[in-house]
Symmetry: C2
């Protein structure tokens, strides 16, 4: 089997790339990076296996953090939460996991699978279930395309473990798991979507971990070469710049375990005189330019520091940041009718049809 090993250099790039592709959410990657780097330096390798190379009979599950990203930077994790959640699933099923699948290629949740993989001595699969980040569990391609959300396990840093063994559907799981997460302090480790290698090949979005790495590599190269980082990002991520502006207002609250709100940008450069408003619920949802919609979920609305391409996550949003906003077309797996029913604008409370970024 062909695998590649994540070293500190690759980790550095993935943090940047996944931060951009996380569309403002997925959890802040900084703490996750520190944890992963500590494990790498302790000699625990993280191997990445291509989706095509995963044997059909392997046991896989999704591992990541659940909760409000705003909490994850204030309440520092112990670093074992998500591993404990996977162990709880193993105990419950009486079987061992052969590899870890990322839930989303965004922020902390693109790093967390590496931490779990290093702890358990198994590889990470080069794929994810969103090709970006989303705020709730049902919005994951594995579940959209028929993998059972049960059993699912949550674990916290205090030693509590909860297994959701059976249930009505992923919305009930989300509801029960979200309230447990709030009780656990607003952030918990989560393991879900126990599946075979064959199931993963049918439902995962392929190659997203290496995509994030290439994107991060490109940003870092642009910084060193003093090129425009935006050109580099568009070159690897696709899509196009939507706006250049300064953050002039941020509204947010953390109701129900989410970071909800909106950010307002005053344009500069070619966008001087224009204004952009972007709503978010952990991730950026809809972008309006002077009142007109220019991009919506499930397409990616990414925000980076204008100068160095550093991703701006919602919990870091602050008055005065000078940023660039990019629109990136989402994976085709998110544009099918069954996916749009779960991740389209109406699923977030917007009475709009989805219009692909390329068609706007």
């Amino acid at each position: 089997m062909n695998t590649w090993r994540i070293d500190e250099d690759a980790l550095e790039s993935i943090v940047i790339g996944a931060g951009i592709l996380g569309t403002g959410g997925g959890g802040n990657p900084y703490v996750g990076k520190l944890t992963a780097r500590k494990l790498l330096r302790a000699g625990r390798p993280v191997e990445v296996v291509a989706l095509d190379d995963v044997p059909d009979d392997w046991n896989l599950c999704v591992a990541g953090g659940m909760g409000a990203p705003t909490v994850s930077v204030e309440k520092l994790p112990r670093g074992t939460e998500t591993t404990d959640a996977v162990l709880a699933l193993e105990t419950h099923t009486g079987q061992r996991i052969d590899a870890i699948l990322p839930a989303e290629i965004g922020g902390g949740n693109s790093i967390e699978p590496m931490v779990v993989a290093a702890n358990l001595g198994v590889p990470v699969v080069d794929a994810d279930g969103m090709g970006r980040a989303f705020p709730v569990m049902p919005m994951i391609t594995y579940l959209i395309y028929g993998i059972s959300p049960f059993p699912c396990a949550l674990a916290d840093e205090k030693g509590n473990r909860v297994v959701f063994s059976h249930g009505v559907d992923s919305h009930w799981l989300e509801r029960l798991a979200r309230t447990s997460t709030v009780q656990m302090g607003g952030f918990a480790g989560c393991a879900v979507a126990w599946m075979s290698g064959a199931d993963a090949k049918r439902t995962a979005i392929d190659g997203t971990l290496s995509w994030a790495r290439r994107l991060g590599d490109r940003v870092r190269r642009a910084r060193v070469a003093r090129e425009d980082v935006l050109d580099g990002i568009v070159e690897v991520a696709g899509g196009r710049p939507l706006f250049h502006g300064k953050v002039v207002d941020v509204e947010r609250d953390s109701a129900g375990g989410f970071a909800r709100g909106q950010v307002v940008l005053d344009g500069f450069g070619g966008d001087t005189g224009a204004q952009m408003t972007i709503s978010f619920r952990n991730e950026f949802l809809v972008a309006w330019r002077d009142g007109e919609i220019v991009a919506t979920v499930p397409d990616l609305i990414c925000m980076v520091n204008r100068e160095d391409g550093e991703p701006i996550t919602v919990e870091r949003l602050r008055y005065g940041f000078r940023v660039a906003v990019l629109g990136v077309p989402c994976s085709d797996l998110l544009r099918t009718p069954e996916a749009l029913a779960v991740v389209g604008p109406p699923a977030f409370g917007y009475d709009l049809p989805f219009e692909p970024l390329e068609a706007r």
Copy 2:
């Protein structure tokens, strides 16, 4: 092994006896009775085994309803919730249960173990973990005397099952399970305290199911013989009458999944001119006669219809009811220092030492 079989006549008596000993809580027994009677009529026997006769190597667990009694009479159960919770524990542990232990001898939770036992074809043990009813899980002798609260399972009528596989302590379990119960609609089936027969003999309150039956038998005999039912209750339950009065005020709310509040009684008969106030949190906690405390948890404060001895549970409290209030000394297992730390007045927010009813 000696067992006795619960028939419709025994069920009728247990409902009355456990209703009285439930001190206002434990869930309304009416719906449970209907479910149990249906199973009995369908030919599913319920066998009761004496605690002494339980083999040391049997697997036992506690099964009952969790939530606000006020909800359990409005949101009718499917009848399989608690059985599903036990099945979830069996699946999780990979072992079968040999008998069901009642959590409390009070209201619906004295009937629910019979429903589970009939569904699973195993006996019920003639014992419980409270010798009365209490509002939260840590207040159970099994846990007070060292049985692990993990794993614990919850199940609802919709098909959701949650297993609390590991955790900090019973207070964390209570916190996590209570919020899940609220999400499940305010009432759920619960299975907890997986233990051996030997552990049960060490930690259970012995003989309480047959005690409830004898109490109910006595009330029914008094009704037929037109004797004073209060004399009959005191004869079997012990203790003494504390007050005769009419309900003149009831305050309540259902915050946090509990039925909390207080009831005020205006005295009649020998108590004319006096007033009694009784606070409750699912169960009656403290009784004041004209401002002076006459009984507190963990002693039993029981309320019955003055005429026919029918138990009055908190969710049935209503203006105009003419009732008798009785005080009954609790089990010695609830009066040790380790038990009083969990079930004494301070555990319910009252800054009072526990003074036994007999000493007042």
